[in-house]
Symmetry: C2
Subunit: 240 residues, 2 copies
């Protein structure tokens, strides 16, 4: 049976403050939990129903009822399992390979999608500005579908990171060079900005090459592409 | 003041059945409503608060209170205006230019994003299988951010559409040819499939070239990219 303290902890972990103090986060559902179990991340505790077979033979588990799972789940139809995992120790961001730098990306769904894309395209490191959404937010964990466990993700001050950067620093703007006609270096930083305001002025100062995804067709579209879409297209261009 | 019948109609238009019988749909918020007002779509009626300036001088409007707007809005913070628009008359799908064909894409958010991408990349026509999400669903309208008004979108039986197709028919699969190393024709059909099951067997029979977005890096990722991400990357490759 779930204790009151367990329920309190799990609900508490929806808040960044509690995740930070406990150094724990939550993942749900068989697919995502098993992707994390198969990674280098450390499990703190699993809660699952009788239906779950525990193929990874995790020893820190507790069997709960469907009703109890419903109580702690964010899903409308919970899927057998909820896991608490340890947030890995902080790693200093490094300056080699291909780095994606997010300058205040706020939407957890966008961040989850970007983590997934970085994993797919073999990005070496995702560096998030301090005011970017928290990658251990449950919505991000679910949207990233296990990619979170494989990718190097760190949070740091974006300007400090960019000081003394020797690689080319690409930034995505509405008025940059056509990304399809630009020679792109593989060891580089690609910066993507906030959903509403784009890349901030202090960060823009370190951009060595502005890039744009051109529009095609007759329509003049006033809005830019969503940041996750732009990430998909830029990473595809870098890696193709 | 809003009448009971008006409230009933607006709430009814959340259902596909009512949208179909009334041939009307809803858009909300200044940005999306004004994109539609600036298009060839016909407005049925606008409801807005005193704060809205009506720069398009629409005559079919009614001024309502903030409270009334809250009552009919899907937003947690409604943004001055809600519009009812006419669904344009059905147009036969055609067989030239670049067509994107969706084979049962279910998620309204994905469909909205795909509509936006098709508009950005100057796709000539979006053909949706009958069981694809409804593009006049309010979530699709909001996610497509006005692109819905600019793009040719039709619903039809996918197999009937593909019979006698003379253009190349590209389909996205896990085991297709590397999209980056394939000569892509500009007059073509690109098929994207259902979120869980991909392209259905009857539709697959008409694919003349299977395509894949390869993974990069060391990680072996078990899941495919989300259909909206895949669309972004494929369209970028077709148009670059």
């Amino acid at each position: 049976m779930l204790s009151k303290n367990q329920v309190k902890l799990i609900h508490g972990l929806k808040k960044k403050k509690i995740r930070k103090s406990e150094q724990l986060f939550i993942a749900e559902g068989i697919k995502v939990v098993e992707e994390l179990l198969g990674s280098k991340l450390k499990v703190h505790k699993l809660f699952f129903t009788n239906a779950y077979l525990n193929p990874f033979n995790v020893t820190d588990y507790q069997i709960i009822t469907e009703k109890e799972l419903q109580l702690i789940s964010d899903f409308s139809s919970p899927n057998q399992i909820l896991g608490i995992f340890e947030i890995p120790p902080f790693k200093e961001p490094f300056h080699e390979g291909l780095t994606v730098l997010l300058d205040e990306v706020n939407d957890p769904g966008n961040l989850g999608t970007i983590i997934r894309l970085c994993d797919w395209f073999g990005v070496d490191q995702l560096v998030c500005s301090k005011n970017t959404a928290d990658c251990y937010n449950q919505k991000v964990v679910q949207a990233s579908m296990g990619s979170l466990a494989r990718l190097n993700v760190t949070y740091t001050d974006a300007v400090s990171y960019l000081k003394n950067e020797k690689r080319p620093v690409y930034g995505t703007f509405l008025n940059g060079a056509n990304v399809y006609r630009t020679q792109l270096e593989q060891d580089a930083v690609i910066i993507l900005g906030n959903e509403a305001n784009g890349i901030s002025k202090p960060v823009e100062a370190y951009v060595t090459q502005k890039l744009t995804i051109p529009q095609f067709g007759e329509n003049q579209i006033t809005e830019s592409l969503n940041v996750a879409m732009a990430t998909a297209i830029f990473l595809s261009e870098f890696r193709r």
